[in-house]
C-alpha cells in the first residue's frame, strides 16, 4: 500500500509539471493581457512599459521558466488585475466555494443516494415513477432558469430568503439547492442503475434465503457493491463542479466563489490567476482520485492496488 501511494504521488508530481506547461501555453494563446488592461488609445510605448512591468516582454520560454521556478517555491505570482498575490486572491474566494460546494455536494448525496435506492427497490411501481419524473426534471431544467425562478418565488413573492449574496445560512439555501438539483438527479439515476444490477446478483438471493431482512440485504450487502461507480462519479463532480465552482449559479446568486473568479480571470487574461486555479484544480483532482482508489480497497477487499 505504501509503495503504491508513493508511486502515485510521484506520478502526480510529473502530471502537475506537465499540466503547468499545458496551462501556461493555453493561457497565452488567449491573447495579450495588455489588450484588456490598457485603454483603447494606449500607445506602443505604453504597451512596452506595461509589458516590462508585468514581465510579458520576455520570450515565452523565459516566462515559463520564471513561472515554474516560482511555482516550485510555492509562489503563485501576482494577479495582473488585482495587483496582489494570487494566493490572496484565491484565498479570498476559497471559503465561499467550499461552503457552497460542500453544501451542494452533501445535498446531492443525501438526497440522491436514498432516492436511487428507493427507486431501484420499488422498480416499476408508482414510487419509482415519481422519482424518475423528478430525476428527469432535475436533469432537464437549466440551472440559470431554475435560479431565477427560485429567486422570484422564494425571495420576491414569498420574501422567505434573500435574493443573493452570502454571509448567512439563509443566503446558502437557494444557491445550494440550485447547484445540487442536477447532480442529485444524476446521482439518483446512477445509484438506481447500479442497484438494479446488483440486486439481481445471485449472492443476494443466498442472503435472502438465509432469512435476512430485505433492509439488511439492500443496505448492507447490495449497496456496498453498487456504490463503487457512484463514488467515482461523485469524486469527479466534487472537483470539477463543487470545488471549481459553478459560474452560472454563482453569477445568478452573486455568490463570491471561484467559478466567477475563473470566468473573470479568463476574460481579463489574468494569466497568473488562471494558471494557479487550473493547477489547484488539477492537484485536487489527482489527490481526490488517489483517495478514491484507496476507498475502493476498503469498499471491495477484492480490489488490489497494482
Amino acid at each position: 500500500m505504501a509503495r503504491y501511494v508513493v508511486g502515485r504521488l510521484f506520478q502526480a508530481a510529473l502530471s502537475l509539471v506537465l499540466m503547468s506547461l499545458f496551462v501556461f501555453l493555453l493561457a497565452h494563446l488567449t491573447g495579450d493581457p495588455r489588450d484588456v488592461i490598457l485603454p483603447p488609445d494606449a500607445s506602443p510605448a505604453e504597451y512596452q512599459r506595461v509589458g516590462e512591468a508585468l514581465g510579458l516582454d520576455r520570450p515565452l520560454p523565459v516566462q515559463y521558466g520564471i513561472y515554474l521556478g516560482s511555482l516550485l517555491r510555492g509562489d503563485l505570482g501576482t494577479s495582473f488585475r488585482a495587483r496582489r498575490e494570487v494566493a490572496d486572491v484565491i484565498g479570498g474566494r476559497l471559503p465561499a466555494t467550499l461552503e457552497l460546494g460542500g453544501a451542494a455536494f452533501t445535498l446531492s448525496m443525501l438526497a440522491g443516494v436514498p432516492l436511487g435506492i428507493a427507486s431501484a427497490v420499488s422498480r416499476g411501481r408508482s414510487r419509482d415513477q415519481v422519482i424518475r419524473a423528478v430525476v428527469f426534471l432535475g436533469q432537464s431544467v437549466p440551472t440559470f432558469w431554475l435560479g431565477i425562478v427560485l429567486i422570484e418565488v422564494f425571495s420576491v413573492r414569498l420574501g422567505w430568503l434573500p435574493s443573493g449574496g452570502s454571509g448567512t445560512l439563509a443566503h446558502l439555501v437557494l444557491p445550494a439547492a440550485t447547484l445540487a438539483l442536477f447532480f442529485m438527479a444524476a446521482t439518483t439515476r446512477l445509484v438506481r442503475s447500479s442497484m438494479l444490477e446488483t440486486l439481481s446478483m445471485a449472492y443476494l438471493q443466498t442472503a435472502r434465503a438465509k432469512g435476512l431482512r430485505e433492509r439488511t440485504v439492500v443496505l448492507r450487502h447490495a449497496l456496498r457493491n453498487a456504490v463503487i461507480p457512484v463514488v467515482t462519479y461523485l469524486s469527479t463532480i466534487f472537483v470539477t463542479v463543487f470545488l471549481a465552482g459553478s459560474i452560472v449559479t454563482e453569477t445568478v446568486y452573486s455568490w463570491p466563489g471561484m467559478g466567477q473568479l475563473v470566468f473573470q480571470s479568463v476574460l481579463t487574461r489574468d494569466f497568473p490567476v488562471v494558471q494557479a486555479l487550473v493547477m489547484l484544480f488539477a492537484a485536487a483532482f489527482i489527490f481526490v482520485s488517489l483517495a478514491v482508489d484507496l476507498l475502493y480497497v476498503w469498499l471491495d477487499p477484492r480490489i488490489r492496488l497494482a
Binding site: 483603447p40 420576491v156 449574496g165 452573486s254 473573470q264
Partner: protein, 536 residues
Amino acid sequence: MGRLSRFLRLAVASTLVLAACQSQAPAASPTAAPGPTGKLVVAITSLREETFLPWTGPLARKTYTTPIFDFLVHAKGETGEYVPSLAKSWDVSADRLTWTIKLRDGVKWHDGTDFTSADVAYTIQRYTDKDSLGFSANFFRNALAGVETPDPLTVVLKVKAPQPALVGELSSYGSLWIAPKKYVTEVGDKVADQKPIGTGPYKFVRLAPAQDIEYEAVPAHWRVVPEFKTLLIRAIPEESARLAALRTKEVDISVVSTDSSAALERDGFRIKEVKQSYGTMFMFGALLNPTDKRYAKPTDPWADQRVRKALNIAIDRDAIAKSFYQGRATPHPTGWMFPGWQELGPYKYDVAEAKRLLAEAGFPSGFTVQMPAYPLSPGTELPQLVEAVANYWDKIGVKAKIVPIDFANYRREWGEGKTAGRISVMRMPLFPDWGTNADSYFGTAGPLPSYSDAETDAALRAALSETDVAARAKKFGELGKLLRSKDAMVGIAIVNDTTALGDQVGTWTPLAGTYPMYWEYVTHKQPFKLFRLFEP
C-alpha cells in the same frame, strides 16, 4: 391706569399665545441638526479589480472609489460645469504653460493628517509612472513638463504646450483622484489598495471580495455631509438578480438596462437617467488615408460616399431609440458628442433612396459585410444593436455576417489594420476632452483608425493643436459637421444610462456620462438638507 391695564392685558395675552405656540412646536435642543443615518445599498454589476489607487486600474472603478476620494476639480452633475473642489482656484499664465493651483486649506485625510500639495505631486508622479494603469496616464506624460510644490497649499503644473483639456482631466470626469503620499509610502501600494484612505465624504470600512464594499460617512466633511451613515456598494452581476434585490428592498439603487426600465417604472420605481452616457455608432473598416502603411488601398464598397449614405439612411434611428433603447436615447447621425452635436442634421429614413444610391454606386444587388459583435462597458447591448442594424441593411441587400468576438482580440486586429470588409460597432463615452478619442479613431496614426481623408485630417490637426478653450470647442464642432457631411460613420444614438431608485431614497444627481457615482449626494426620502459646499 387704563393704558397700563391695556398694556398688561396685551402682555399677558401675548405671553399666553407664545406659550401655546411653543407647546405645539417640537422640543428642539440647541444643536438640532441631524447627521447621517441609515444605510444606502447600491447595486452595480461588478467590483472589477477591487483596487482603489488611481494608478492601479481603469477609469470604470470610479463607481466605487469616488466615495473615498476627491478630485482637484468637481464637474457638476448634469451640466458638466467645473467648480473648485480640492483645488480652491486655478490660474493659467499668459503663455498658458504654467498652471498655478491653490489648494483648499483644512482638508484632512481619513487618518487625520493634512492634505497638502505633496499629495498632489505624489499622485501625479505615481500616475505617470511607467507601470501606471491610469486611464489618462498617457495624456499627463505627454502634457506635463514638471510639477512643483512651492508651499503646502500650492501646486504648479508646467506643461509642454498649452493644454485646454487639462482642467477636464483633473476633474471628476477624469481618473486622477488624489491619493495620500504619507500613507501610501508608509504602508505600500498593496495595503493602500486594499485599505484605502482618502479625503472623500465616505471612509472605507471593509471589502468582501466579489461581494460588497462598506463605507462610513465622514460626519463633518468639507464638501458634502452624506445623509446616509453607511454606504454599501454590492456587486450583483446578473440583471434579474439586481431587479429582484430592488423589489425585495435589499438594495435601494441599482444600475439597470433600458430594457428593464419601462417595467420598473410601471411597478413604481423611479428611473434616473444618466444623460449622454455614451454614443453608439458603426465605424467603417479600412478607410484610412491611403498613405498609411497599415492599410491597403480602400476597396470596400463604402469607399464610395453614396454607399456610406445609403447605409445611413437605411436605418430608422427613431425606431431604435424608441424601441431598442425604450425612449432613453436620442437618435444621432454620428454618435459622437462633439460640441454642437445636438444641432447636427438627422438622416431621413428612406429605404427606396438607399437602394437607389447603392445601385448608382454599382451595387444593385447589395454586398456582403462582416460585422464583429462584442459587448463593452458601457455598451453591453452592442451585440443586439449589431443585429438590429443588420436587419435594416438586409432590406437594402447588404448581407451582414455577424461575428461574435472578444473585443480585446478584435482591438488588436483593428490596430493592425485588419478591418477590410468589416463595419465595427463602437460606443463613445463622454470624456473630458474630445481630442484623445478623436485622434484614436480619425487620426491616421491612431490605434483604432476608421475614417480619414486629407480634409478631415487637417480639421482634426487644427482642432487638436488649438489651445484656446472656446476656439477648440468650435473646431471640434466643425470636425463633427465635416464628418457628418462625409457620412464618415453610421451613428445611431446618444444613449442615457439608467439607474432605478427604490422609494426608500429621495434624490440623486449623477455625473453626466462615464460611470455612475456621487453616491454621497443621495438623500433620504425626506431630505435632511445637510451641508453641501455646492449642489452637485
